[in-house]
């Protein structure tokens, strides 16, 4: 679910950053959660993609109950490490597990909007073909944007006719997919902890510099 918020005076943000959303009930109770910004800076229009956690306290409310015009509190942008700036010339390797694609999508979009020529490869791991966020837009970007490559891999159910049987992304997959030269590649890994651990350990084993791998874990 993508939520578009109007935030007068928004100071701008970088692809990869997130915000804290705070909800307060009439009785004064309040809670907050962090959500990644799904799009590059578009002034006062701030876009969040929220994965609904069925028994969650905040995400089901945002997805089902929040009405157009309702106020929420927002704090951000947050994060100075897990960010990509369109001026950076290095190759960019993006590895997404599930909803971890959101901040990486902001980077794909920022690359498109800025006309950056930095080679970028998004490897996106999903359970089944129907779990792909931004599927149509990703197809379009991959078709139209020179230097952008998008690879979707499946962990539970591969599409009919797929060469790769469904399984979790492993070192052998990565060896075949990613740039072999590990120098000078900006690497961003985002997803559930098990995904981030497996992928970043595999990259280190392939010779990627641990200090150049930036990770963001969900839970």
């Amino acid at each position: 679910m993508t939520l578009v918020l109007g935030v007068p005076g928004w100071p701008g943000h970088l692809a990869g950053q997130h915000v804290d959303v705070r909800l307060t009930a009439a009785d004064g109770y309040s809670t907050q959660r962090s959500y990644s910004l799904a799009a590059p800076d578009h002034g006062a229009r701030v876009e969040l993609t929220v994965q609904v956690v069925t028994d969650g306290e905040v995400s089901p409310f945002l997805a089902r109950d929040l009405a157009v015009g309702d106020p929420v509190e927002l704090r951000g942008p947050v994060g100075g490490w897990f960010v990509w700036r369109p001026g950076q010339p290095q190759r960019v390797l993006l590895l997404a597990g599930g909803s971890g694609v959101v901040p990486l999508m902001a980077m794909v979009r920022a690359r498109h909007e800025s006309g950056s020529a930095a080679p970028m490869h998004l490897v996106y791991s999903v359970r089944t073909p129907t779990d792909v966020f931004y599927a149509e837009e990703l197809r379009q970007r991959a078709d139209q944007d020179d230097g952008l490559r998008v690879t979707v891999v499946h962990t539970r159910e591969a599409p009919a006719g797929a060469e790769r049987a469904a399984h979790r992304l492993d070192a052998a997959d990565l060896a075949a997919l990613v740039w072999p030269e590990a120098d000078d590649v900006l690497t961003f890994v985002c997803g559930p902890t098990a995904f981030v651990d497996a992928v970043s350990d595999a990259l280190v084993s392939l010779g990627y510099d641990a200090g150049a791998i930036r990770t963001e874990r969900y839970g």
Binding site: M1, L3, V4, L5, G6, V7, P8, G9, G16, Q17, H18, D20, R22, L23, T24, A25, G28, Y29, S30, T31, Q32, S34, R45, V46, E57, F61, L62, A63, D65, L66, A67, V68, G69, D70, P71, V72, E73, L74, R75, G76, P77, V78, G79, G80, W81, F82, V83, T193, D197, S200, D201, V204, A210, G211, I213, R214, T215, E216, R217, G219
Partner: protein
Amino acid sequence: MDIVTPGFRGRARDSSQHLPPGQYLVHDFPVLSAGPTPYVDTDEWAFTVTTETGERRTWSWRDLMALPQETPTVDLHCVTKWSKLATTWRGVSLDVLLEDVESAADFVLARSYGGYTTNLPLEDLLDGQAWIVHEFDGEPLAPAHGGPARLWSRTCTCGSPPSGSTGSTCSPTTSRASGSSWATTSTATRGASSATPATERPRWCSPGSAGAGRSWSPGATSHRPR
């Protein structure tokens, strides 16, 4: 004044009566870090304290194990809103490690394997408030959680991480959300390898990461939920 979001009630409070307002209970153990997990062999592991005069003291793993061990049990209330109750740790108090260290510093720069650093007041490390821990719930501390050993402090510290790692920041401007009477434990520092008393006043929240300068925007309104 808080902005009330119409229709938001939050979870039934009675199921979370042991939690500070706005926190949710986890039974797993979230991992918060900015990069790949460092795997450090205990044969190579060392903990070093360097003072402002350059004096160094180093403990090997064997040295650490030979020191008096304590087993603090605490509730964790992370700034990212998860809470984990009654966690038990085992390790060596910083009071023991810093006992013979001469320093006039007010602040400490803690540096971990993997390059992560954080700043905190020296007073937050003393008087039974911080340990180098190496066991969690009776098991050796896992690398993902900072194993083989990590710095562990009871105090709410506003460490500024080099990352967007959401768990490692603590913003004074948001303390209201969790109730100011509740201590928030930073779990950001992992695998502490050295603690360097710094003489300069540290920068708590750097621009670009979560910081005191970022205030809540009350005017955000939903345009188009779908």
